[in-house]
Subunit: 342 residues, 2 copies
């Protein structure tokens, strides 16, 4: 079971034909990995896909070249002229406006090429995962679950817990998919947070939001813990769990993602809370990817379900798991318990 790059590129070509473009210029490292299997150094890189030729991987001459040469020809560039040489002759190019800086865009525009923002469409083939991709995401989740089971936090500062997690991630042979969020006590009322010097206490709500990248694929998982919860903490946490359960039950193929968002908004309101952030997002080679908002949920899609309740100066609770749409139902890819007190 291995990724079929030709099949993936055929999907891109279908988009090229439908949109009457000559070619697509991809510039996200995740897309380049998806369409060619090429893992890149941090240097700028482009993948040019047209209707006929083998895709062209255009990479910095400083990079090494241990790529998948079956899936793409490799062209090196030292300066912008070398890039221009490769895209010369195409009249209309779809490009990834969310993964191209404006400096490059302005240079390309000067060449007289018709550039069409195509960033959203380029991501369409990545929305539905094949079995191999599911197995990679499952492995990433399994490793994350190991970390949740091992991490100690009471008595440590948020930063110390975060550093412990980052070291465990390295020991497991993977990478952080994003910097771990460890938010304790009243800090747990923040949705995105940088771990700080606060020492975690037994009475604190502690939100831990962790993701690792295994073979390119991300996990993204949140648990809220409290060693000695009071009544209110238990109540709020229970409400979060209830919201998550109902969202998962209602996530079906054919439902638009924003309809699910709206459904979850009503759940919050019924329980007396305000919906503070989106209820989930696609996950795969990127931590955040499609499906989002106007996308319709389909068989094979993978996304997070992550309700959260945040009360200023008091704290917050969030729980996040990844589901996979299979036989029309949202199936959890994680197995980890959701006990507030582990």
């Amino acid at each position: 079971m291995k990724p079929d790059f030709s099949k993936r590129v055929r999907k891109l070509r279908k988009l090229i034909t439908e949109s009457k473009l000559d070619a697509l210029l991809l510039s996200s490292p995740r897309d380049i990995l998806y369409y060619t299997g090429s893992k890149l150094t941090g240097d700028a890189a482009f993948l040019l896909v047209d209707l006929r030729s083998k895709p062209s991987l255009i990479i910095s001459s400083l990079s090494n070249y241990t790529w998948n040469l079956k899936a793409a020809k490799v062209h090196f560039f030292s300066d912008f002229k070398d890039i221009v040489k490769e895209i010369d002759g195409y009249n209309s190019l779809g490009f990834d406006e969310k993964n191209m800086n404006t400096g490059i865009f302005m240079k390309l525009k000067k060449l007289g090429i018709k550039l069409k923002p195509f960033g959203s469409k380029i991501k369409i083939p990545r929305m539905v995962k094949d079995d191999w991709e599911i197995s990679q995401i499952k492995k990433a989740i399994k490793l994350t679950e190991n970390i949740f089971q091992e991490v100690r936090f009471v008595g440590r500062t948020e930063s110390e817990a975060s550093r412990w997690i980052s070291k465990s991630v390295i020991d497991l042979g993977v990478e952080n998919a994003f910097p771990p969020i460890i938010a304790s006590g009243s800090n747990s009322a923040f949705i995105h947070y940088l771990p700080g010097k606060r020492k975690i206490k037994a009475k604190d709500l502690v939100i831990m939001d962790i993701g690792v990248r295994f073979n390119g694929y991300c996990s993204d998982m949140t648990r809220t813990f409290c060693q000695r919860p009071n009544k209110k903490q238990k109540k709020v946490y229970g409400d979060v769990l209830e919201i998550q359960k109902q969202i998962i039950d209602n996530a079906r193929a054919g439902v638009r993602f924003d309809v699910l968002e709206n459904f979850s908004k009503k759940l919050y309101e019924k329980l007396g809370y305000k919906k503070m952030h989106s209820t989930g997002h696609g996950v795969g080679l990127s931590v955040h990817e499609r499906p989002v908002s106007k996308d319709t949920i389909q068989e094979g899609m993978v996304f997070t379900v992550e309700p959260g309740i945040y009360i200023k100066n008091w704290g917050g609770c969030r729980v996040e798991d990844i589901v996979h749409i299979k036989n029309n139902r949202a199936k959890l890819l994680s197995k980890l318990s959701r006990e507030l007190t582990p």
Copy 2:
């Protein structure tokens, strides 16, 4: 000794006046840190600086707000409309084309605002470092030197050595400024490289390129090691050291950076090699920043001097140190030995 944000913002305002703009829209997290002291989560953020008002920090409503409120007003945004509200009323905005994706740029352009690429000029104030910045860079270098002194590599794979370094970086309470490059044997002929499964041997040349980020400021340092070098390895490494020495001797205030590049090109050629990459780059809050190419070296600037010789299928040598221009001379900020066999 603390950063003077008002003084820094005054320099930006001088640029605004000279360029007859209404305001600048900054979008690089490094610039926002430099001009306001605000450390950000990974969410999008903008800093709007005009001639009169306190700078406006426009950040995602998902982020927490533990920022330096003395240096900026904070405005939260949930969607693009909220950003538009803040920049409404300005006719001409300088923006950072290298740190703004084309999607945002196209949305801003639709508003009818005159947008001027200003990314290079925004970085001018950051080129010359004050004493506080030098002390931060020195600390980052000191921590990197500790790692070079402790790292064992013979008998480990490149990946294992890389993971050991990443864990040490965490133990030292800092972050990788970039993923460590560990290239051994014939892999050391690659300039940018992803550490792999190759087991490092005593006879290998091993290039280690490591940088950490301390309090925002980066180190960037390379050593080449070989436990049992042969004659050719010693010769090539000696040539690299000689090139570095001569570049450092010739790096003076008043010399243009590309003149120094050209000088080093001739050094390589005199010794029978080809110059494969730039001889150095500014370093500070970014690993790569100005001065580059057409910038004239000035008192207070900080940059790397990093000659490298690469021979395909044989291997390579690189040595990289950071210098600080003081009393018109390039003074090394690092103290670590450059012995090939440690």
